[in-house]
């Protein structure tokens, strides 16, 4: 490969604090009617002043700890000055000169290989409002309306070093980050709702010529899939430019959903000078070691720690542990189940295949059932009342309706045939119909057993207890 891709990310995370960053308006504004969660402070009324929400600082420290950052005792807010109708004060309160944390890292798992992605900085800032354009697009609109509900919602911005070397790695990083944010219970991490927003800087190195392209900033990637798609597109576009001997413009491009391409948003000459300077309305933020220690000691177990524990405690493969731990709710569900069913690997298999498939199909992240459902299902299988196949058949319905397995079995009249006589009859019939197969078995080709088991399953439409079928078939063939 003569081309090497270099990606760095800037990620904005909306914090789920009760109130906004600098006033007492509620911060949970999603789907509220426009301009109903506002006050003189967040709408930039003349004379209003910001007050720091201290739980916002705690949330940022939590994230910084989870990302292995150095947390600074002294940090400060600054003003980033620019004009836009969604920015009522004409400046955004952010941390430019002295961010709350720097120099962290996050390990990601790329096909079983652990890769360390360094975090350059983590800082706190406020969100801007929302513009609603009355018309098809911003250029066609007759007029635009401003909704200031979102103004002042606390954000944490996380900036990585350019340590990612593919669009896929970028996606894996953001997925892992979201998992951590949810573990910490500091953000919904919902990309579709804008609670997690990701911009990327991408460049490509031509290894043969030893040159690196200019950096291109890519925006508007509002799902994990789009992060990968947009960066794949952009990576190819840059390589094409390099191949043709052209220069890659230093610019900002946006992912366009309709054309599945990136389009230029602004070039270098339009770069703004934000005139950063210390926010005089807010004294410096001092975070004591005590406060950091307190937050650290209250920190929940994070995905990596959980994976290690699952591997040692439940003796399941690391792959299983990784899949389960990716989502805290699923990991918790797993542990609840294992407490009641002492079959860690079987439960893991069931969750990873049957349950995750259902969740994906229903496009939900909610676990609609309780551990009791799975416990009952496993109990029925163990008792031989239903086969694995039957269990798999009814699971979607269990998951969708929340009905207990027993109830569904009864409603459907499903019951595993464990009656040995019935099974014997079928096998005997098959043996007389196919004496050649019997001969084969007796001459040592014992795997022909499967044929007889298959015949039983066919006759009983899969409702025979496979274990009993196996036993009887072996006994009859050997006898």
């Amino acid at each position: 490969m003569s081309y090497r891709t270099v990606v760095g990310l800037e990620i904005h995370v909306q914090l789920m604090t009760k109130t906004k960053a600098f006033c007492s308006c509620r911060a949970d504004v999603f789907e509220l009617p426009p301009n109903t969660a506002i006050c003189p402070v967040c709408t930039g009324q003349p004379g209003a002043l910001p007050i720091v929400n201290s739980s916002m600082i705690d949330y940022a420290v939590k994230i910084a700890l989870a990302l292995n950052c150095v947390i600074h005792e002294y940090s400060r807010f600054d003003r980033k000055n620019y004009f836009y109708p969604d920015l009522p004060k004409g400046y955004q309160i952010t941390q430019y000169f002295y961010p709350v944390a720097t120099d962290g890292y996050l390990n990601i798992d790329v096909d079983g290989q652990i890769k360390k992605i360094r975090i350059r900085r983590l800082h706190i800032e406020e969100d801007a409002g929302k513009l609603i354009h009355e018309g098809d697009s911003i250029t066609q609109a007759q007029y635009s309306l401003v909704d200031m509900n979102r103004c002042g919602i606390p954000l944490v911005e996380i900036v990585t070093e350019p340590d990612l070397s593919s669009p896929r790695e970028a996606r894996i990083f953001v997925e892992k980050l979201r998992s951590i944010l949810r573990y910490l219970d500091v953000s919904s991490g919902d990309m579709e709702k804008g609670a997690l927003r990701c911009d990327a800087n991408i460049s490509v190195v031509d290894e043969l010529k030893g040159i690196q392209s200019n950096r291109v900033e890519v925006k508007n990637m509002n799902s994990f899939r789009f992060i990968e798609k947009a960066l794949e597109y952009e990576e190819q576009r840059i390589i094409e430019v390099l191949k043709s001997g052209g220069t890659v413009e230093k610019e900002t491009r946006g992912w366009d959903l309709a054309t599945k391409t990136t389009v230029s948003m602004r070039g270098k000459e339009e770069e703004s000078d934000y005139r950063y300077f210390p926010e005089p309305d807010i004294p410096p933020i001092i975070i004591s070691q005590d406060r950091i220690d307190q937050i650290r000691s209250a920190l929940v177990e994070l995905p990596d720690q959980k994976i290690d524990r699952f591997v040692t405690q439940y003796r399941i493969p690391k792959y299983d542990a990784t899949v389960l731990a990716a989502n805290k709710e699923i990991a918790d569900f797993y542990e609840e189940c294992v407490k009641l069913i002492d079959k860690p690997k079987e439960v893991s298999n069931w969750i990873m295949t049957e349950m995750l498939r259902e969740m994906k199909q229903l496009e939900t992240e909610q676990i609609n059932i309780s551990p009791a459902h799975l416990v009952e299902l496993f109990f029925l299988m163990e008792k031989g009342e239903i086969s694995i196949k039957m269990a798999k058949e009814i699971f979607p319905e269990i998951f969708k309706t929340g009905k207990m397995p027993k109830q569904i079995i009864e409603e459907k009249g499903m019951r595993q045939i464990s009656d040995e006589k019935v099974i014997e009859e079928i096998i005997k019939k098959a043996m007389t119909q196919n004496p050649k197969a019997v001969e084969q078995y007796k001459s040592g080709k014992t795997n022909i057993l499967g044929y007889f088991v298959g015949q039983v399953m066919k006759e009983t439409k899969g409702s025979a207890n496979p274990q009993i079928v196996n036993e009887i078939a072996r006994r009859l063939l050997e006898g």
């Binding site: 003349p46 004379g47 209003a48 002043l49 000055n81 004409g90 400046y91 300077f277 005089p280 309305d281």
Partner: protein
């Protein structure tokens, strides 16, 4: 006589009549003085220890439901949805706000000539400016239209007009009075302060408006007793006189004479007076005119025609922004926005803004060092008395007149201006600066001068006779 009454005098008079008398006086006198931008239509009589005492508020301090313009076209019709903390506290104590006073637009100026609406007249000589930017408040108090007023002081905007109009003006320690509701000019320098007819009145108002405010995180949790030591003498105190005062070329001779008399009085009262050098003081004005416009350029960005205030539509968003701000802001405000935008730009940040911050630190160090050894620093409030309206047109000359007042803002220390005689038949102010949080001591020193000044009668400052 209403026009000579202090807050103390009001406490012993018929409270039911005071608001009416004030409104009456405004009606007859103010067409000549022009200190009010807005006079309240109805003023409710509210209970409280200071029930019914009429005061005025500078028009850059928000008053719920009462128009607040900053003397700017851009906020000409702005009605605030909330009371500033200092306003709320005064109302809670029964004070009655009868109107909003004229000022230089967004407090940028020293004469009220930069008001977008009109220039206020000096009650001692209506050909002259009242000073600024709180010129309307100072003139309204001096001409007896209200008992007291609130102003704001960013580089001398309470003290200089108080000096020009012959009244008391106090700028508290930064962080003592809430800025919530004070429409920001330069946030790290702005402070609300009282303009009154006596030092005791200033202390009375401070007692109410000072204190920690959960809505302003730059306020401090510190209880100051403004009143109990007020009448104590100053024998044995040490006062510093900066040599730089005498080196200032534009120092008016008669102002210098009054200043020397004040020093003699101090000595007579048992104080020890000594000349000192504060070398960084000569950079104060330059430093101020980097920092204040920089902060202002950001603070004034919110006036964009989107949410409130003036909007003049033009092609597209950018066109509307430009037109609105071009028409909405006056020349001086635009000059300072351009200055501040320049000094904050990436290419000049180090050379100007950051350097000014460093000089500010050095000046603070110098001044605080002097205040370690002295109880106060004395200077004239302004090098000159009130000047004729329209007589100063060069911005630099205009800015340089702030030479004695800006250091207190840059350092964040308390400073007061009290009347001390006359120059060219116009009032002269004496400035007393003290240590951070020694506001009570500054007031006590001021009270001693007020009591013993030969220009006062029974410790009362003279009030001009304004006739139509």
């Amino acid at each position: 006589m209403f026009e000579k009454m202090t807050i103390e005098d009001c406490l012993n008079s018929d409270r039911e009549r005071l608001i009416e008398e004030s409104l009456e006086r405004i009606k007859t006198i103010d067409p000549l003085i022009k200190s009010f931008i807005t006079v309240a239509q109805e003023v409710a009589l509210k209970e409280g220890p200071y029930k019914g005492i009429p005061i005025a508020v500078k028009d850059n301090i928000t008053t719920k439901g009462l128009r607040t313009t900053c003397a700017s076209k851009i906020l000409e019709n702005y009605i605030p949805p909330y009371d500033a903390t200092c306003v709320k506290r005064l109302k809670d104590y029964g004070f009655a706000i009868v109107g909003k006073t004229n000022m230089d637009e967004f407090a940028m100026g020293s004469s009220t000539e930069r008001s977008a609406f009109f220039t206020t007249r000096n009650p001692w000589n209506t050909q002259c400016v009242p000073g600024g930017s709180s010129g309307g408040s100072a003139a309204a108090v001096a001409s007896g239209q209200v008992i007291a007023a609130l102003g704001s002081d960013t580089g001398g905007s309470v003290r200089q007009p108080a000096s020009f109009c012959g009244v008391v003006g106090f700028k508290p320690t930064y962080g003592l009075v809430s800025r919530y509701g004070l429409i920001a000019f330069a946030s790290s320098l702005d402070q609300v302060g009282p303009i009154t007819k006596s030092v005791r009145d200033a202390a009375l108002i401070m007692d109410i408006i000072a204190g920690r405010d959960p809505f302003d995180s730059t306020t401090v949790r510190r209880k100051i007793d403004f009143l109990s030591q007020l009448e104590e003498d100053i024998a044995g105190m040490r006062f510093a006189i900066p040599e730089e005062v005498y080196e200032y070329e534009q120092l008016d001779e008669e102002v210098a004479q009054r200043f020397d008399e004040a020093i003699k009085l101090a000595e007579k009262l048992g104080a020890i007076v000594q000349r000192v050098r504060i070398p960084t003081m000569r950079f104060a004005v330059a430093t101020y005119y980097v920092i204040a416009p920089a902060e202002a350029s950001s603070n004034l960005a919110r006036y964009d025609g989107v949410k409130y205030g003036l909007r003049v539509e033009e092609n597209g968003l950018k066109g509307t922004y430009m037109k609105t701000r071009n028409i909405g802001f006056g020349e001086e405000v635009r000059r300072r926005i351009v200055l501040g935008t320049f000094t904050l730009s990436a290419a000049y940040y180090e050379a100007y803004f950051n350097k000014a911050q460093k000089v500010r630190m050095l000046l603070s160090k110098d001044v605080n060092q002097v205040l370690e050894k002295f109880d106060a620093i004395l200077t004239p409030t302004s090098p000159v008395p009130a000047f004729k309206i329209g007589s100063v047109s060069d911005p630099l000359t205009y800015y340089l007149m702030d030479v004695f007042t800006v250091p207190a803002n840059l350092v964040g220390i308390p400073a007061i201006s009290i009347p001390f005689g006359f120059a060219h038949d116009l009032p002269v102010g004496l400035q007393i600066m003290g240590k951070r949080f020694e506001d009570a001591k500054v007031l006590r020193i001021a009270r001693s001068f007020e009591k013993k000044s030969s220009y006062n009668e029974n410790g009362r400052i003279p009030i001009p006779v304004v006739r139509i």
